[in-house]
Symmetry: C2
Subunit: 406 residues, 2 copies
């Protein structure tokens, strides 16, 4: 058995936590496994470094920003390797470049091009533990690059693929993916197995356990992921290929996000390119648009409604007011008290009527649906924020997700 | 004109200091010079990192200790490059490995084997500024190594040699080498030019401005050093080859050290190998022995007297008491209230009578000399600590070093 273990910032946040993390690694070695480790920077370290850069310049040179923040993981990797060595385990820290991570030259958000880690595999096979810095690599000229926030997950998956690991364990401070947020629905239950596709939908809906890129990468190479808690070593959630998930109900979970705002531009003269005209300036401002709905054109006019994160509501409204005049639309309306609820499940591909069932449940509860979008394995509705608990709990029960008491 | 500028930890200790340091670099560029920069870690950073390692283990793995502390310079180099870039100067940070510093594999105290910096020279010739981490390199396998405390001076000199700089500017918080400590002798004056040999003697006597290794390296390749203050941009002290120093008096300065203790083993049965017997155990304990005097043998017995740093007095005495019995010597005596005074100058090679002049001055002042050692360009005496001010001031005046009032 060969594994790659990824530990996030909280798992290396202090000397005490580094020792606990070393305990976990040691117990896997004691079971005869071959182990490589990928670490993030100590909690807060990346922010500390970035803050110094921002103090120097509002727009620091990105090559230098990467060289700067990459030291965060180098520190935690060296400390963890040290701790393992002091226990008699042969462990060696590797920076991204030393570990063979070659990326493109797109600083601050580089993409991994290749991982040349044959030398690490030799160590693993000899029972030694490479401790690799997550989140970073070097470009073809040897410049240090970083993968962007959360990139350590992607590093871990890429390394697991490169050394042909059997599984990539992602340790975080939660013990897996739940059918919905247990703080809202006490009967939410941990999902034992979930497909990559479902995990992607959960991730994009704000389940902050895994970076989307890392799931996409794992899916492409069919690398099983195990999301688990570094505080509580029970079985977590396995993320695997769809055919490896067991037969089960149509829906695996209910996701939601309160942090939404809705904006409508009304009666835009309909002509080719209006969507680009609307969303171009928004994208340029670095604002992520989520749900978009455009009604069919009526008498040469159309309405476009979309949602953005609530924190981007005011700047987006300003952009839209300008556009409204330019495009000779009638008006712009906004509402920053909406929320989003989604049901997710690969099972809905084969189960007809999930959408109808969802709308029926909400209708029975008297919840008004403002927008609807669907993908192959997800149905999302936008509704007034005040209905969110009601909607989530009703859907969780209706789709049979409530935990059965033992 | 091509220069390498080395800035120590205080010059990059804060955002404010980094800006001041960038001012200095910019003003050199504005004079049309080609510039490369070598930086230390921000003050305190190396200690912070080392403290974490010591918390994990009393004897941390040295490979990991190097990987850990090397991040200190990487942070300051990236920040300084960032600040230069924000002023429109093309500046790029380089780790030791990226800058082409290849060392042996002797972690924590590696020695530079080669510096492959042709790519940095290309940048310099294009008016761009490489900002290189001092103190570090990589071994032939790409493992990060460090040169030991103060190694940044050596990095700077090595880089200056590699890019064939005209001078290596070493910025510190003092503005040069003085004829003696101005706190003790207000008439001490800054030395404008000093030879490498003299600088080595000053450095070994505790003038903490330059690491000995860096002076030796500069001497071997005849790289002129300019010791100067980053707080006050006046001319500092040039360290150059002996033939480049101007004709001047026999003595260039008076150095002293209070921090001495003296130990004598009395009446050791004289036989080959006793010096090795005495100093072997002291060296094994990591204690630096400084002055050693052995009197001629008398009736088959000899006395050995030596000095150690005062902080090592008690452990050394314990070692000596054990040895005394083993070697059947008569007794061990110690005195931890001695001090050392040296006069230094390449001029004494050609000026007879410097030793006599020195002893005369001390005799006139009633100072009793306890030990004497001489090198080609230095005469050192050990004396009771209470005489130190008297001795230093009298010698400073007698050898014509007192600053002439303008």
């Amino acid at each position: 058995m060969r594994i790659v273990q990824k530990f996030g910032g909280t798992s290396v946040a202090s000397i005490e936590r580094i020792r606990k993390t070393a305990d976990i690694i040691q117990s896997e070695l004691n079971q005869g496994k071959q182990v490589a480790v990928v670490v993030s920077a100590m909690s807060g370290e990346t922010n500390r470094l970035t803050a110094m850069a921002r103090e120097l310049s509002a727009t620091p040179a990105v090559r230098e920003l990467d060289a700067l923040v990459a030291t965060g993981e180098q520190v935690s990797a060296a400390l963890l390797a040290m701790e393992l060595q002091s226990r008699g385990i042969a462990a060696y820290s590797y920076s991204g470049g030393q570990a063979g991570f070659v990326t493109d030259g797109d600083h601050v958000r580089a993409r991994i091009k290749s991982v040349e880690s044959a030398h690490l595999l030799v160590h693993m096979q000899a029972g030694e533990v490479p401790v690799v810095t997550g989140f970073q690599g070097v470009d073809e000229h040897g410049n240090v690059t970083t993968l962007g926030r959360g990139g350590s997950d992607t590093s871990a998956v890429a390394l697991a693929i490169a050394v042909e690991a059997d599984v990539c364990d992602i340790y975080t401070d939660v013990d897996g993916i739940y059918t919905t947020d247990p703080r809202m629905v006490p009967k939410a239950s941990k999902i034992d197995r979930i497909s990559y596709e479902e995990m992607l939908e959960f991730a994009s809906l704000g389940a902050k356990v895994l970076q989307t890129r890392s799931v996409e990468l794992a899916m492409r190479f069919e690398m099983p992921l195990h999301l688990r808690s570094s505080f509580d070593l029970v079985q977590g959630t396995m993320v695997v290929g769809e055919d490896e998930t067991m037969e089960r109900a149509a829906i695996s979970g209910v996701a939601f996000n309160r942090d939404e705002a809705k904006i409508t531009i009304m009666e835009i003269p309909d002509q080719p390119g209006i969507a680009a005209n609307v969303f171009g300036p928004v994208a340029e401002a670095g604002i992520n648009v989520d749900v978009i709905v455009q009604n069919v054109s009526e008498q040469g006019f159309t309405d476009i409604t979309f949602t953005v994160p609530r924190s981007d509501y005011l700047p987006t409204m300003e952009i839209m007011r300008v556009l409204c005049k330019q495009m000779q639309a009638r008006d712009v309306k906004g509402d920053d008290t909406v929320a989003k609820v989604s049901v997710i499940g690969v099972g809905m591909r084969s189960h007809a009527g999930v959408a109808k069932a969802m709308f029926d449940v909400l209708a029975v509860e008297g919840v008004n649906i403002q927008m609807i979008t669907t993908s192959e394995i997800k149905i999302t509705v936008v509704l007034e924020e005040k209905y969110i608990e009601l909607a989530v709990r009703a859907l969780h029960t209706a789709f049979g997700l409530d935990r059965q008491e033992a």
